[in-house]
């Protein structure tokens, strides 16, 4: 496969780049080039090698073989600092900012002088942020900022370090639609300043909207690079997975709706601080209840209350009824015992133990249900349970003792799902089940969700991705400002109608 003819000397070029981990290639003979002032999207399933490729460019890991050229000069970057000195910065999905420090301190971290005056740092930061037209308070603690603002600080830091190449790893995953629009404007502004941009995304529409060129990787190999004008969604997906999946995933309109069974969950007039305001909804056995809403609509918080992860208001907090009986959980374990499983949207923080293996993680889920004393832990059972669920959900790993942190996003998500399903819950709440998951794994996760509903379980799917909600749900609830405002039947629902309800 040949690359389009470069129009100028590439600012960054990789030739036959190969990176081996324990002898297993993460990327193999990959060719890549980035033109000056270009926005280049890097796409591929999880595990396709995108992250490895960008880590090589950012100096996080070195190449096993092949060449890397920056401005035509061959380099072997050994550290991110070295990459930064050559004008290459990377903005990670999970921001690398120090949460307990202020915005200004984060901006100048690593560039401190011998003597630093805090006031001076704040003034300089303010001037710099204003020059970028970023509305961020330099004195604010990073931990208090929203995802979009953190992203801005990361970008500002990259620009401050005079980066000529900025690499974004899934920059929009945690942004609201409004924040995304702001981010897109920002990317175009950076492009106008002559900065070359590489970004990784699972949202194909974003790639088609933003990028000048798109590169697709599959199984660590380069598959396709072309101008976005010559590509469409179907061709990209086909290149990513090697088969046409777009129709399987979202192409078909739901034609058969499962009838509701027993009302398993009833939430009545639930209140939780400013996030959930008098929210009422039900979930029925044998159905997938889709919950759509913009970020901040209180969907996650409502179901976290249901699962005992957070508590409703002490005074007049409303009711949660499980099979018609009021429940009030002090801890999540009680909800697990009652057959409620909540599969988190933030798997890295709340979903798994990263220092444990796949089997150990899945076994932890079982232990939560059984409540066995630690003395009765069985490594053999853990392994057997892990094997069983890994096979059932087709978790792919280099070895069966692999740590979960070493898996790709899709496989990590499958482990998190297995960890909950091993508890044999009656009510399963999936919060953003396919966020940061490749298309191949999305199809498998969707199939599992449908299987659970067919087996008579009550399934709730919280998703910000409309096609996903429409493809999966037997009922679509739309949340806005802390409450469910409307319910759609999937046969009547339109994307426009749902979005209108979520916004107006």
């Amino acid at each position: 496969m040949s690359l389009p003819e470069p129009t100028a000397q590439p600012v960054l070029e990789l030739r036959q780049a190969t990176k081996l981990y324990n002898g297993v290639p993460a990327i193999e003979n990959v060719d890549f080039c980035l033109q000056p002032g270009e926005i280049h999207a890097l796409l591929g399933e999880n595990g396709a090698g995108k992250s490895t490729l960008t880590k090589v460019m950012a100096g996080v890991v070195g190449l096993s073989s092949g060449q890397m050229l920056v401005q035509g000069r061959e380099l072997a970057l050994r550290t991110p600092l070295e990459a930064l000195q050559h004008g290459i910065a990377m903005v990670f999905q999970e921001t690398s900012l120090v949460p307990s420090m202020t915005v200004a301190q984060n901006l100048y971290l690593g560039r401190e002088r011998f003597y630093n005056r805090l006031r001076g740092v704040y003034i300089a930061s303010q001037q710099f942020l204003q020059s970028l037209n970023f509305d961020v308070d330099p004195t604010a603690t990073v931990a208090m900022l929203g995802a979009a603002k953190k992203q801005m600080v990361e970008i500002a830091r990259a620009v401050l370090h005079e980066a000529r190449i900025i690499i974004f790893d899934e920059p929009t995953a945690s942004l609201t639609p409004e924040e995304k629009k702001y981010f897109f404007d920002l990317v175009f502004k950076l492009q106008a300043r002559g900065v070359s941009i590489i970004f990784i995304s699972h949202a194909l529409e974003e790639a088609l909207l933003l990028a000048d060129r798109i590169t697709v990787l599959r199984d660590g190999r380069h598959v396709l690079t072309d101008l976005k004008t010559k590509l469409d969604r179907a061709r990209i997906v086909q290149a990513m997975v090697g088969r046409d999946l777009s129709q399987t995933l979202y192409g078909q309109k739901k034609t058969v709706v499962r009838p509701p069974g027993e009302c398993l969950l009833s939430v009545r007039n639930l209140r939780m601080a400013a996030m959930v305001k008098n929210n009422s909804l039900s979930a029925f056995a044998g159905q997938v209840t889709g919950v759509f809403g913009l970020v901040g609509s209180g969907r996650t918080e409502t179901f976290k209350v249901v699962a005992g992860l957070i508590k409703r208001d002490l005074f007049h907090g409303g009711e949660v009824l499980l099979r018609g009986k009021p429940v009030r959980y002090r801890v999540a374990g009680q909800a697990v015992h009652d057959g409620i499983a909540y599969i988190t949207e933030d798997r890295k923080l709340e979903g798994f133990f990263e220092t444990m293996s796949i089997a150990q993680n899945i076994y932890m889920g079982l232990l939560a249900k059984l409540g066995r004393p630690l003395g009765l832990l069985s490594a053999r059972t853990a392994r057997a349970v892990g094997e069983h669920w890994s096979q059932l959900l087709t978790v792919r790993a280099i070895s069966r003792d692999a740590l979960v942190i070493e898996l790709s996003g899709g496989n990590q998500q499958k482990v998190v799902i297995a960890k909950s399903l091993v508890q044999e819950p009656e009510l399963i709440i999936f919060d953003e089940p396919t966020r940061g998951v490749d298309v191949g794994a999305i199809a498998e996760i969707h199939a599992e969700i449908n299987r659970l509903a067919d087996a008579g379980r009550a399934v709730v799917v919280i998703s910000s991705y409309l096609p996903e909600v429409m493809a999966l749900s037997d009922r679509i609830l739309v949340a806005k400002q802390g409450r469910v405002v409307v319910e759609f039947a999937p046969l009547d629902a339109t994307q426009e109608g749902i979005l209108y309800a979520a916004i107006h």
């Binding site: 009545r268 009422s280 909804l281 409303g318 009922r475 405002v485």
Partner: protein, 369 residues
């Protein structure tokens, strides 16, 4: 071990924190209760001030409005009889007999003579020495006996809201065997009995303020925890029955019902039209209380705003499962549904709030879903 003191403390805590039995919550209208616009889309057959009840003997559809009994004939309501008091309930027997309740205090049984003119055959004013006060629903059973609900011992049917606000619990359900003259009390002390329906093996009646349907002699409700106040019922051709819900529950009203001092003062000092209470129709006066939510946005009344008036008809299976529902949402017009009847391939519905007789065509084959 759980002691009486523990139970008292728990109850006190529940009241203090507004949870458990003291939680002011209203059941969710979703799933089969998902709001739709079926009642608003219904064909308007007639506009009759004071229209209240429907009855069918299988051949003719009868309707009552104020003190007039109408027969539906040739596409219009034809006056059949005029009474000296308001008709508060209506029933038609298979043999051509009719029963009407007048002002909630008198039940009159009538039969047509050879010239098809109704003649009074019997009447009832009191049961067990207690005068009828709020007769609001009548139905003939298979044996020709008349089932009666007397909503309140204190208030006429038109003053149902007073009974709700006073937490009335003096409703009765009775069975009158006209041939023997025997009256049997099936249930009493009810929180507003409103609507009765004979079934193959039992009698089902509505206890409105308790939001449930009961069967005499059974401990467990046939249908409970409704999000609205149930009222009259009518058999459905495909099995099960139709249930009218004449007003809806809201959190604000539930709250007011738990506040005796506030409620008593409201009853004393405020015009009943402006009480914080459900109504058969709303939106006619700016003095009406809002229901404590963002009911209007950009000048548009939100369909999910808590309703002061609402239109709701439920299709209920024989075992008490709700199968489907017809709605007129808060921004709709056809509120205050007080009667429903299947007749001539359609479902006829009385919206007392809008004083309209509605008709919804029924599918040829009723599958119960």
């Amino acid at each position: 071990m759980r002691t009486a003191w523990h139970a008292w403390l728990e109850q006190w805590l529940d009241r203090f924190l507004g949870r458990g039995s003291a939680a002011i919550t209203v059941p969710v209208m979703d799933g089969v209760l998902k709001p739709n616009r079926a009642l608003d889309a219904a064909e308007v057959m007639a506009q009759l001030p004071g229209i209240d009840d429907l009855a069918s003997d299988g051949r003719t559809l009868w309707l009552s409005a104020a003190n007039v009994l109408y027969r539906w004939s040739q596409g219009a309501a034809q006056e059949a009889l005029r009474f000296d008091a308001e008709i508060t309930a209506l029933a038609a027997g298979a043999q051509g007999g009719m029963a009407v309740a007048l002002a909630g205090q008198r039940i009159v049984l009538m039969r047509p003579d050879e010239e098809q003119v109704f003649q009074e055959r019997a009447s009832l004013r009191a049961i067990y020495g207690q005068a009828l006060q709020g007769v609001n629903a009548l139905a003939f059973d298979a044996q020709g006996r008349l089932l009666i609900t007397d909503g309140s011992a204190r208030h006429a049917p038109t003053a149902w809201c007073h009974d709700l606000m006073e937490l009335g619990h003096s409703g009765r359900v009775m069975r009158w065997d006209v041939k023997s003259g025997k009256v049997e009390l099936l249930a009493s002390g009810l929180r507003y009995a409103y609507g009765v329906l004979p079934r193959a093996s039992a009698v089902v009646f509505s206890e409105s303020w308790a939001h449930r349907l009961l069967v005499p002699g059974r401990d467990r409700a046939l249908l409970s925890d409704l999000p609205a106040y149930p009222s009259r019922m009518a058999p459905a051709a495909g099995g099960g029955f139709w249930l009218c819900c004449f007003v809806c529950r809201t959190q604000l009203v539930e709250f007011v019902l738990r506040e005796p001092a506030y409620r008593q003062r409201m009853l004393r000092e405020v015009d009943p039209r402006y009480w914080i209470a459900p109504a058969l129709a709303s939106g006619h006066s700016f003095l009406e209380p809002l229901q404590g939510a963002g009911v209007k946005q950009m000048g548009v009344l939100k369909p999910w705003a808590p309703p002061r008036a609402y239109g709701l008809v439920l299709r209920v299976a024989e075992d008490g499962r709700v199968l489907s529902s017809l709605h007129s949402q808060v921004d709709g017009l056809h509120h205050g549904i007080t009667a429903v009847q299947e007749h001539d391939g359609g479902l006829w519905v009385v919206s007392k709030g809008s004083a309209r007789l509605l008709r919804i065509p029924l599918p040829d084959r009723e599958d119960g879903a």
